[in-house]
């Protein structure tokens, strides 16, 4: 797998882009009995955007949580394999230490602090920072610039804001930690199309300007592959396909199943056929 990876990068790039994150043969079990990840290996090079694609239940969220060490809270366990950050094993680090090292996860399904106001939510995001109130203030302004809607609702209790507002809040909160690696779980979910574009623009900007690395689980394959450098496709807890974004975009199966493109351009949702097609890699 890593061979494929290397093929796709020019040798020069490889030198200044060592993997920040690498997962090797990771196996995860929930509740002592439910085997979810069956040996996932992947690498996230520094300053790149890597996307995880896959159907519902493929294990994307689980993979991200394995990295950020949030699995314990779900009674899940990494039973095999290694997870390395900058070449150092991090499985034993607490989530807090990971955040201190600049790895922040934006959890799927919002998870705002309901009783705190939007602004308090954002400020909590800067909990680990030690660089002073004024820096934090200016970052807060930055987040408000990205999401003006949040500014409007800054004193509303997060629990009472709309779905999209909560999603923005969760994202903004992660940015407040000034991370260098962001694990983004379905950022586009429930956002208006315009905003989805904007969010990916922000991702892109952070990536280009501030060298933030992204590991991105996303269902909106179209846009994910547009912005990502590299992609992994997960099925049933295994990596079934990986490659750089361009090659994935051109893969027939990806086109068919993830982009909704048939040979004659975009398929209409109305014309969905009533039988199930088979993915080639599962055949």
């Amino acid at each position: 797998m890593s061979e494929v990876f290397e093929e796709n990068l020019s040798p020069g790039v490889e030198v200044d882009r060592p993997p920040v994150l690498s997962l090797n043969n990771v196996e995860v079990i929930y509740d002592h009995v439910i085997l979810v990840l069956k040996g996932v290996s992947l690498e996230v090079p520094k300053g790149r955007i890597v996307t995880l694609l896959g159907a519902n239940g493929a294990g994307k969220t689980t993979t991200l949580k394995a990295v950020s060490n949030l699995l314990k809270a779900e009674r899940g366990d990494v039973t095999k394999g290694t997870i390395e950050l900058d070449g150092e094993r991090v499985q034993s680090l607490s989530p807090n230490e990971l955040v201190k090292r600049g790895v922040v996860q934006v959890m799927e399904g919002r998870h705002c602090f309901e009783h705190l106001t939007i602004e308090e939510n954002l400020l909590v995001g800067s909990y680990v920072r030690t660089d002073g109130a004024s820096e934090i203030r200016s970052d807060l302004e930055k987040v408000y610039n990205y999401f003006p809607r949040l500014k409007d609702r800054s004193s509303a209790q997060a629990g009472y804001t709309s779905g999209g507002e909560q999603q923005m809040c969760a994202l903004g909160r992660a940015l407040m930690a000034r991370p260098r690696v962001i694990l983004l779980d379905e950022p586009s979910m429930g956002l208006a199309p315009q905003l989805v574009e904007e969010i990916f623009e922000i991702v892109d900007k952070l990536n280009k300007l501030e060298q933030v690395t992204f590991l991105l689980a996303e269902q909106n394959t179209n846009i994910a592959l547009r912005y990502a450098d590299y992609g992994y496709i997960l099925e049933n807890g295994r990596v079934v396909l990986d490659g750089d974004a361009k090659s994935l975009r051109n893969n027939e199966d990806v086109k068919e199943f993830y982009l909704g493109l048939s040979t004659s351009g975009r398929r209409s949702y109305r014309e969905v056929k009533h039988y199930r097609r088979k993915k080639r890699w599962l055949a």
């Binding site: 002592h32 009995v33 085997l35």
Partner: protein, 358 residues
């Protein structure tokens, strides 16, 4: 792989909805029944019956009742002791007023009275939720106990305020009062508990049970799909209190023989709550397991030093016992927060896969 459902096809939904769809389970249950109805009464010592089995059954009944309310309907309640008191005092009142009426009928009547009291005290659940509700139900606990203590009518104006189980017969056999043997009392309790456990199981797998669980898991969504949360909660309070009331009646009439309000103190409420949490919220089997845990573990711990021939001061022994008990609670919660019933289920799942690990 001897324990599995593969190969056991169900050709109808009826079969699929049976309580124990798996053949091995049915055999297991039959085995338990034989032990409970035949082996134990024939072989157990009076101490075992009186100190372990009878309280175990009675607390199981109370735990089932509370589990319906807390585990299924999601309404945290600490009023159990109060409702048990209603059952006990009403049974006493009724059976002394109408000595000829069959004692089982009296139990049920007392249960019904308890249910209506439960209904009343369930009304605040319309607005109050979670721990707030739990603490609010303490109002019923304290009020009821105070009332039974204060109003001498409830204990026929005797000077001490203690109610005593008078002798009553069932099919010509004395089942309550001092002359009833432990075996008969055990069998009566067992029969009652079995019937009510079955009824509880039926309730929770039917429409009512689903409504309860819906209200528990998300009351707003339940409301939106057309379940009336208030009504559903009140039914839960009533039925739960019915069970607790009957359990309270059995406690005095089949176990203790006499009681004052202290027997229904807040500690009782807590103990029954422990049972269902340790046993497993939302599980009838869990109610039994939890009751077994809370009733038996202290007794085992008390008797353990002697079994091992250790001799130590009794207070130290008790302290160690309390600590061990606390430790076991925490330990089991860490191992499996969803209780012994879930542990049992996981064991079964593992067994199903055995000998393959996943």
């Amino acid at each position: 792989m001897f324990y599995r459902e593969t190969g056991q096809f169900k050709s109808s939904y009826k079969a699929d909805q049976a309580i124990f769809p798996i053949t091995q389970d049915r055999w297991f249950i039959l085995f338990i029944f034989i032990i409970a109805f035949l082996v134990i009464p024939l072989t157990a010592s009076e101490y075992l019956l009186q100190a372990v089995m009878i309280p175990l059954l009675i607390f199981s009944l109370a735990a089932i009742g509370l589990n319906l309310l807390v585990g299924y309907a999601g309404q945290l309640s600490l009023g159990t002791g109060g409702f048990m008191a209603v059952g006990a005092y009403m049974t006493y009142k009724l059976t002394t007023a109408f000595p000829e009426v069959n004692i089982i009928v009296i139990f049920i009547l007392a249960g019904l009275i308890s249910a209506s009291v439960g209904f009343l005290f369930g009304i605040p659940s319309l607005r109050i939720k979670g721990f707030y509700l739990a603490v609010a139900t303490l109002a019923s606990q304290f009020f009821l106990v105070w009332m039974f203590n204060k109003v001498s009518w409830f204990y026929n104006h005797n000077s001490s305020g203690t109610i005593t189980a008078p002798p009553r017969e069932l099919f010509g056999v004395t089942v309550t009062g001092p002359t009833a043997t432990a075996e008969t009392r055990y069998i009566v309790a067992l029969a009652i508990v079995c019937v009510f456990a079955l009824i509880a199981k039926n309730l929770v797998r039917g429409r009512l049970g689903r409504s309860w669980m819906a209200v528990r898991d998300m009351d707003i969504a339940a409301e939106i799909i057309g379940i009336r949360p208030f009504q559903t909660k009140l039914i839960a309070f009533s039925i739960s209190s019915f069970y607790c009331g009957v359990a309270g009646a059995l406690m005095v009439f089949l176990w203790l023989g006499s009681a004052e309000t202290e027997a229904f103190s807040i500690n009782e409420s807590f103990y029954v709550l422990f049972m269902i949490i340790i046993g497993g919220l939302g599980s009838i089997l869990g109610s039994f397991l939890g009751a077994a845990f809370i009733v038996c573990v202290p007794i085992l711990l008390t008797n353990a030093p002697q079994l091992f021939g250790l001799s130590m001061p009794i207070d130290l022994q008790k302290h160690i016992e309390i600590m061990l008990f606390g430790f076991l609670i925490v330990f089991f919660l860490i191992v499996e927060p969803h209780g012994l019933a879930r542990l049992w289920q996981i064991a079964k799942e593992k067994l199903r896969l055995w000998p393959f690990p996943y």
